[in-house]
């Protein structure tokens, strides 16, 4: 039989063992070490046969299992002799340490599952970046304050930003996919120029930083210039370009 081995399916030997215990419907408090060791070694052998890198942790666990198995195989006469001494019997179970580890690991694995849920829930809620309050800061006296931030605060802020950005950016990409016509963009531009009265910075005519929109806007401006509906001014090379509606030109006749 050929197997397709997915090594990434397990987080480590403890995870693999939990999986085996679960699949074989074994009582974790009473693990049949011989069985589980065989199963475990099967996996390891399969990995090796497939020339996959077997992380050393898996081999260490294999050795541990074999050690426990051999301890379990030791003659049981001691147990019979000291039957009365239950505590001795329990404490000396060679499986104890492993079971404890498995239980502890399992509780954190469960917690990780809950974290995943929290992560997903949080993803359903959208917040907004702090507003830029520059317009309110004119003449504002900043309280002098010592910095109390660490690199971690900065990284945290960055991650928050990256998470948040997901919504902001592609807003247009998706929705404006359908064609924006030059004609309708020309109307928009004229409407905008009339509303603003007087001249407007060239860049203000590009409110949407998406390629198709920019191209259409640019072509619309050329067309409007050709039709002599707008003025375009630039005082010097490289200085800001201003656009204004020509006097007497109201809305575009369609």
């Amino acid at each position: 039989m050929i197997y397709n081995v997915k090594t990434e399916a397990f987080e480590g030997p403890l995870d693999l063992l939990l999986h085996l215990i679960n699949r074989l419907e074994i009582d974790i408090y009473d693990i049949p070490v011989a069985d589980i060791t065989d199963q475990y070694l099967n996996y390891i052998h399969a990995m090796k046969e497939l020339e996959l890198d077997v992380a050393s942790e898996y081999l260490v666990m294999a050795a541990t299992l074999l050690a426990i198995k051999s301890q379990m195989l030791l003659p049981k006469y001691e147990e019979q002799n000291f039957e009365a001494d239950e505590s001795y019997d329990i404490e000396s179970d060679p499986r104890d340490e492993l079971v404890e580890k498995l239980l502890e690991y399992r509780s954190f694995k469960n917690a990780a599952g809950q974290f995943k849920q929290l992560e997903q829930d949080r993803g359903l809620v959208f917040t907004k970046p702090p507003s830029d309050l520059s317009e309110f800061s004119a003449g504002a006296e900043m309280e002098k304050q010592e910095l109390d931030v660490s690199l971690y605060d900065m990284l945290g802020a960055l991650q928050k930003l990256l998470r948040r950005k997901k919504l902001q950016k592609p807003v247009y990409a998706r929705i404006e996919k359908q064609e924006i016509s030059i004609e309708s963009r020309m109307k928009d531009i004229m409407g905008f120029l009339h509303k603003r009265k007087g001249r407007v910075s060239f860049f203000d005519l590009f409110p949407i930083p998406e390629k198709p929109h920019i191209v259409v806007t640019f072509l619309s401006l050329l067309e409007l210039m050709k039709q002599k509906n707008i003025h375009v001014e630039q005082e010097n090379n490289f200085s800001e370009i201003f656009v204004a509606a020509k006097v007497g030109v109201d809305t575009l006749g369609s």
Binding site: F10, E11, L18, H19, Y43, S107, K116, V125, P130, R163
Partner: protein, 191 residues
């Protein structure tokens, strides 16, 4: 409580965005007591419960902020091109869970619990600002001790670390796909 206070608080929360505001900050800016601030907050929160409102007040990492209601997430997702981030890997989530419940904790202790090397997930978590080193362990190694950060709370939508779900050890919670994750017969793919 004056009516216009509610409007004022709404404006403040809106401007603060995801930086959020504490009651202390609000009380200072509005020149009211923290108790009054809390009352206005409560009243505003009550208003937001109406179905006509798309926002609500959430408490994250100790501050109040405005956020959209979960009920509208499907709609909002339409505004994003690639829905959702991939989220943290299983390794990172496990590592983070261990740190969250056992902090402060060293890398060696984490690796002991997970049974595998944990350098990469730790690095990812530091990079993402979810954990930070909070000192050094006693003893020879003087290893770094890790703890969760403020961003951790924000990331998982928690107000304080006490809001973490209780660490459970019980059997019934442990469920796994019956499907064998490791071996799958090779109908589809050869190795």
């Amino acid at each position: 409580m004056e009516v216009k206070h509610k409007g004022a608080l709404e404006a403040l929360l809106f401007a603060a965005g995801d930086e959020g505001l504490s009651l202390l900050q609000i009380s200072k800016v509005m020149e009211i007591t923290e108790e009054e601030a809390a009352n206005i907050m409560g009243s505003l929160d009550e208003d937001y419960k109406s179905e006509e409102r798309g926002l609500h007040i959430i408490q994250l990492a100790g501050v109040y902020q405005l956020a959209t209601k979960k009920i509208h997430s499907d709609l909002l997702k339409k505004l994003v091109e690639s829905p959702g981030s991939q989220g943290l890997s299983q390794a990172a989530l496990e590592t983070l869970a261990i740190i969250a419940y056992k902090q402060p904790i060293t890398r060696a202790e984490i690796e002991d619990i997970r049974g595998v090397k944990t350098e990469r997930p730790l690095h990812t978590l530091v990079t993402k600002g979810l954990i930070k080193d909070v000192g050094r362990a006693e003893g020879t190694g003087r290893a770094f001790l890790y703890g969760t950060s403020k961003e951790f709370l924000d990331y998982f939508g928690l107000n304080t670390i006490e809001e973490l779900p209780e660490l459970q050890n019980s059997e019934e919670n442990y469920e796994e796909d019956e499907a064998d994750l490791f071996f799958g017969s090779v109908e589809s793919k050869e190795v």
